[in-house]
């Protein structure tokens, strides 16, 4: 039941009706039932994994809380015991995650070792949203361990937190502290929230169906036929693929967030106009925000302040100087974070390289900040002007595009091919000789894509200053209604759906 299918609309409408028509106390049960139905629609065999993970996390949190210190000495002992539970449960969850992600590969490697036929061995079941809910639960366990959160006593309520369907497919990676209280409250129907939520969903559908799926046609075509494409085409397609990924991913976020808003719930923001970032670090504070904050809170911080790292830093400080010592403090944990980020996306080598790529960018920007400052001063660049800011944004965008080229072709070899073509076979003329209209998108569709990207940019610019929904709500009725109807019917008319296309699945769904 993808967000773009008719069955989803029927499901969502029924859910909202039940949610608000039944007694408010039952709202969480309605949500739980709906979420389970939603999850099962992707395959009932996936459910046991989520149930198992939820069970482990729920039980472990309660266990940790039960381990109460009796006195000051036993505090350390209690801590140790709790740590054991934490690590044990965490390990199990990670195992389940690894099973889903690399299980098939492991099984097939074993099969090859035992000379069995690859088709006769079972495939590992890819539990839906396993990366997202595992991280959510790991975060929950860590929060309970560190005393930042109380354990949930009711398993079903905890399950709802884990399986709440708007966030199960592609995130955001929810914090229990943020989401669970909302799920416990009752919510009255609020017309304004309903409107705003519905409008946000419309915007999400626009990004997904009109922009992302349309660009996907071109991007897939170009990257499936690298040998015949010029470097200019490839670069253009890579830029489009950056926009496509953003629209696909954030569009899904908007649909999830908008629908939650209709239910009176808020989800953590996952995107904040990332292409307006001026540095790599800022980019990852605006792109897939919840992933970044998760790694920051649960990997970076604990590592950075762990006694071992501080000791190493001290040693380095003594031998190589204060600056080096400081640098080590950030370099070590950041490296770990970025390798893990790469692996979170996929266990293929190209994603590991991708993680290292971003890690390097961020580490260098941080460690060599003074040098960079000196450089801009040397070149007499005024860093306070608008043009410099725009330069920074464009530069960051291209850094992201490079990252896309590392991942879209699917193999490092493929990416190398693309880079080779871009640098040695650019042919800028191919952008203007009309050949861009034969890359699966005809002239009209290509121009439409450009127009929609412009609309996206304009709306994002406005949104930076003041939320657009607010803006429109305050403007005059005719203009307001016209705008929303324009949006709705752009989706109906320009959306990539129907028997002419096959459904383009959400890209981030297999994580």
């Amino acid at each position: 039941m993808a967000f773009t299918e008719l069955s989803f609309f029927v499901f969502a409408a029924c859910l909202v009706l039940f949610y608000y028509l039944l007694p408010a106390k039952m709202q969480w049960i309605v949500l739980l039932t709906g979420s389970v139905i939603f999850y099962v629609s992707y395959g009932a065999e996936k459910l046991p994994f989520l149930l198992a993970a939820a069970g482990i996390a729920w039980w472990a949190a309660l266990r940790m809380e039960k381990i109460r210190p009796d006195g000051p000495e036993s505090r350390a002992l209690a801590r140790k015991k709790q740590k054991k539970v934490l690590l044990g449960a965490g390990a199990l969850l990670v195992l389940l995650l690894l099973y889903a992600k690399v299980g098939t590969w492991v099984i097939q490697s074993f099969a090859a070792l035992l000379r069995l036929d690859a088709d006769s061995v079972p495939q590992a079941i890819l539990a839906l949203g396993v990366s997202y809910y595992t991280f959510s639960m790991l975060g929950y366990l860590a929060d309970v361990y560190y005393g930042k959160e109380k354990a949930e006593t009711n398993f079903l309520r905890f399950l709802l937190f884990a399986i709440y369907f708007p966030k199960i497919l592609q995130g955001p990676i929810s914090r229990h502290k943020f989401l669970a209280p909302q799920l416990k409250e009752t919510h009255r129907f609020c017309y304004e929230a309903f409107c705003f939520g519905f409008q946000l969903m419309l915007w999400g559908y626009f990004k997904k169906l009109v922009i992302a799926d349309r660009l996907a046609m071109l991007v897939n075509y170009v990257f499936d036929n690298v040998e015949t494409q010029t470097g200019a085409h490839l670069l253009m397609a890579a830029c489009f693929s950056a926009v496509q990924l953003y629209c696909d991913f954030s569009g899904c976020m908007d649909i999830a967030g908008g629908f939650s808003q209709i239910l009176g719930l808020k989800l953590e923001p996952n995107f904040n106009h990332p292409f307006f970032s001026r540095s790599a670090a800022e980019f990852w504070r605006r792109w897939h925000i919840t992933l970044g904050t998760w790694f920051k809170d649960y990997v970076y911080m604990p590592l950075a302040i762990s006694p071992r790292v501080i000791r190493i830093s001290k040693k380095v400080r003594e031998t190589c100087g204060a600056r080096a010592g400081k640098a080590v403090m950030t370099v070590l944990p950041l490296s770990v974070v970025w390798v893990l980020t790469g692996l979170w996306h996929s266990t293929e080598w190209n994603y590991v390289v991708w993680g290292v790529y971003w890690g390097t960018l961020i580490i260098c920007a941080n460690v060599f900040a003074p040098e960079l400052k000196k450089l801009t001063g040397f070149l007499h660049i005024n860093t306070k002007t608008e043009s410099w800011k725009i330069f920074q944004m464009v530069r960051t965008f291209f850094l992201f595009v490079v990252g896309r080229i590392l991942t879209v072709p699917g193999t490092l070899h493929g990416s190398a091919e693309v880079f080779k073509k871009i640098f040695f076979d650019f042919q800028p003329g191919s952008l203007f000789d009309g050949s861009v209209y034969s890359l699966e998108l005809d002239r009209a569709n290509f121009h439409l894509a450009l127009v929609c990207i412009f609309v996206l940019w304009a709306v994002s610019m406005l949104q930076e200053k003041k939320p657009v929904r607010q803006r429109l709500a305050e403007s005059n009725v005719v203009f307001r209604w016209a705008a929303w109807y324009a949006l709705l019917f752009s989706i109906v008319i320009f959306g990539v759906y129907g028997p002419e296309f096959s459904a383009a699945a959400f890209v981030y769904m297999n994580f």
Binding site: Y146, G147, K296, S313, K326, P333
Partner: protein, 76 residues
Amino acid sequence: MEEKVLALLTSEFPDIDFTASDALVDDGILDSLTITGIIAALSMEFNITIPYEEIIEENFNSVAGLARMVQKLSNV
């Protein structure tokens, strides 16, 4: 204690004005990288271990808060 902490911080992070507000974290004056740097500096200087649980707004929003935290951890 407070002056000591302030002196240390300003020497480590000359760009940041730690007296500017009482909500250094909330106001975004301190980001995560800086916080880890502060933790490293404080742990090395005062020979303490700052556990993860102590990384809360109360402790980091102001120099006074930091000083209190250091005091508490030194006495353990």
